[in-house]
């Protein structure tokens, strides 16, 4: 079994026994292909081919139909790297991703721990905390757009009533990204809460009992028992949140459309604008390639950094 997989079977002499084994091997492979075939074909057509095509297009210029016209070598990459606004987008994306990930995990964890306490009416809060899971991006955007409205929004009225400086959340480049972060974290929280709450529930009570008997303080128990026990889930949630944050599009499109002054023009949104608004497919392809590499690097770093600390 294992030998044929490692290729050693090929070098073995062809005794009759081997031949039958080989045949069975072949037919097993045939079956494997038969079952994998449809999904492989779909992947090839809808994932691999477009990926290669994107990479290819990034070395050319494209006309308004998206047809490849002029070979541009590394020109697209060069102009991208020389574009100050691209670097601004990159910076905005990285801070967005980092802050969203940290806030989502920390707040999700706090809510999950809070929901674990045996308090009256906690069921209501559990429902409340997880409720954002059922809310679509567009509904959330409308809700928060209204909240951020500088003249009639909740925040504006609050700061007026409290005589705080008024913040123009979505139109001020210093705050727009924060506004998007708040909205994203709010949206993420439901899912994260639910997953982390489930993970906390999975930690056996006896581990805490043992720690109690051993005289470990409750706060230390959280660090020494709870966190290690839920580390696989934390790792999963972090990965999902990071990748999701890199792909954030809907909220940006609906709330700021990349503005003001490119403050929220995250990389994915840029790709969209260049491809589907400006018709610069080659430019968009170049940006996609860079973004893909970036996500790959961040994910790799995350696995290297935290993967080892995950205990299963």
């Amino acid at each position: 079994m294992q030998q044929s997989l490692s290729g050693k079977a090929k070098t073995r002499p062809l005794t009759p026994a081997n031949v039958t084994v080989g045949r069975r091997r072949w037919s097993e492979r045939g079956y494997a292909l038969l079952f994998l075939g449809p999904s492989l074909a779909l992947l090839a057509v809808f994932i691999f081919w477009p990926m290669l095509k994107t990479l290819y297009m990034s070395f050319f210029l494209t006309d308004k139909f998206g047809h490849i016209t002029v070979f541009n070598g590394l020109g697209n990459y060069r102009s991208l790297l020389q574009d100050a606004s691209y670097w601004a987008s990159l910076g905005a994306t990285l801070s967005y991703v980092a802050v969203v990930a940290v806030l989502t995990i920390v707040l999700g964890l706090i809510l999950a721990v809070a929901a674990q306490q045996q308090l009256k009416g906690i069921g209501f809060f559990k429902t409340l905390f997880s409720s954002t899971m059922g809310i679509s991006v567009s509904v959330a955007a409308i809700f928060w757009l209204f909240a951020f409205n500088p003249s009639v929004g909740v925040f504006a009225q609050l700061s007026q009533a409290l005589h705080l400086p008024e913040i123009n959340w979505l139109a001020d480049p210093h705050f727009a990204l924060l506004a998007i972060i708040i909205t994203t974290v709010w949206m993420n929280l439901g899912f994260t809460f639910l997953i982390l709450f489930g993970a906390l529930q999975q930690v056996p009570r006896s581990l805490y009992d043992a720690a109690d008997v051993a005289g470990v303080a409750k706060r230390t128990q959280f660090l020494k028992v709870t966190l290690p026990m839920i580390s696989p889930t934390l790792f999963f949630v972090t990965t999902v949140t990071l990748i999701d944050a890199f792909k954030s599009f809907g909220l940006i499109d609906l709330m700021t459309a990349g503005g003001p002054s490119n403050a929220t023009n995250l990389l994915v949104y840029r790709v969209y604008q260049d491809a589907f608004l400006n018709g610069s497919y080659a430019q968009a392809s170049t940006e996609s390639v860079v973004l893909t590499l970036l996500i790959a690097v961040v994910t790799l770093v995350q696995f290297k950094l935290f993967g080892k600390r995950v205990t299963y």
């Binding site: 056996p204 006896s206 581990l207 009992d209 043992a210 720690a211 109690d212 008997v213 051993a214 005289g215 470990v216 303080a217 230390t220 028992v225 290690p228 026990m229 580390s231 205990t311 299963y312």
Partner: protein, 366 residues
């Protein structure tokens, strides 16, 4: 280290019905004390109350003479071994054993030395760098024990520590645990639902049922002088036969053709519960004066366990050393019992025990 329980009781906040009432006992220093009972009897709750993991509703708990009702677990100076072992999957064996020593502010070399010693005690020194996942059930159990040893506490609470092991391993571990206890001079309170464990390990046993203490005594006394029907049927394998009988003269009539002669005068006509251990039931394989018919037979190598049915359909378990000819359908005559235990039919309480009781097929006149 002694542990005194004085009328301990537990009622949970959200319920009216107490889980435990009026539990009183004094566990002596160096005693192996077993709490046994069916599931739901409150035995684990009692142990957790002693550990400080569950609060005490009423009564007093004294450890070494000091009132401990409100002491946090840490201050009670005890170790605990859990049914699930409560090992931290992310820590190595050594770290698991040393867990908690840091909280007690031991120095690193001291921790190391204690861990090494504890692991040596349970023969796990070679596996100290493994994770619990890479251990067998028995090995995990030993890690849990080692943790208790390393804590150096003189009281060790054990909550069904062997119930996740297979039968053979369990038998071996019983011995090892007992040895360990004696070697370390521990006071152990051991919770189990398994009467064999209770019998084999305990210095004394507390039997709990329906939230109440049924009996506290040595295993042999519990076996021979059960205080009530529940205790009688809880101890001993195969289970004691509990037959209903009516007092007729000097005899107890179980069925018209099965009567037991008792010496103690009993009020005529009362219905009683007669307890006879299967191995104490005497019988002959004969069709003359037969009063029971063999139904099932199980060979256990050195002995044979059978069930028979009396003429009124009551089932009787019996044990025979003979590995010979007993077969389903055979007729037997029950001739007597080495001991019978009589219980009040209504309350289940012990009335008396009688030794060497003869059985007759018919009621002796006069």
């Amino acid at each position: 280290m002694t542990i005194q329980l004085e009328q301990l009781a537990k009622t949970y906040a959200d319920s009216e019905v107490p889980v435990l009432t009026d539990v009183s006992v004094e566990v002596a220093d160096n005693e192996f004390f077993v709490i046994v009972g069916p599931s739901g009897c409150g035995k684990s709750t009692l142990l957790r109350m002693i550990a400080g993991l569950t609060s005490i509703s009423a009564g007093q708990l004294k450890i070494n003479g000091v009132l401990a009702n409100d002491l946090p677990p840490k201050a009670r100076q005890l170790a605990m071994v859990f049914q699930s072992y409560a090992l931290y999957p992310f820590l190595t064996v050594a770290a698991n054993v040393g867990f908690g020593l840091k909280a007690r502010h031991f120095s690193a070399p001291e921790i190391q030395q204690r861990v090494a010693h504890a692991l040596k005690m349970v023969n796990l020194t070679e596996l100290k760098d493994r994770k619990p996942k890479a251990l067998s059930g028995g090995q995990r159990q030993r890690v849990a024990l080692a943790r208790a040893i390393a804590s150096d506490a003189k009281i060790c609470l054990m909550d069904e520590p062997l119930s996740n092991l297979d039968a053979q391993l369990r038998a071996r571990m019983r011995l090892e645990l007992k040895q360990l206890q004696q070697q370390l001079g521990l006071t152990v309170i051991y919770v189990t639902h398994d009467q064999v464990e209770a019998m084999t390990m305990a210095d004394r046993v507390m039997i709990l049922n329906e939230h109440q203490v049924q009996q506290i005594d040595t295993p042999i006394n519990v076996y021979q002088n059960p205080k009530n029907e529940f205790v009688a049927q809880f101890f001993g394998t195969p289970q004691i036969n509990l037959l209903t009988a009516t007092v007729t003269g000097h005899q107890l009539q179980v069925t018209p053709d099965f009567n037991l002669a008792v010496t103690r005068p009993l009020p005529e006509g009362t219905a009683l519960c007669v307890g006879i251990r299967p191995n104490q039931l005497q019988f002959k394989l004969t069709s003359r004066n037969a009063n029971a018919r063999i139904q099932t037979v199980a060979y256990l190598g050195d002995k044979l366990v059978a069930t028979a049915r009396l003429s009124d359909d009551q089932a009787v378990r019996l044990v025979s050393a003979e590995t010979t000819t007993l077969a389903p359908g055979d007729l037997i005559a029950i001739t007597g019992a080495q001991q019978v235990v009589l219980f009040d039919n209504a309350t289940g309480k012990l009335i008396t025990t009688e030794q060497e009781v003869a059985a007759r097929a018919t009621i002796a006149v006069g």
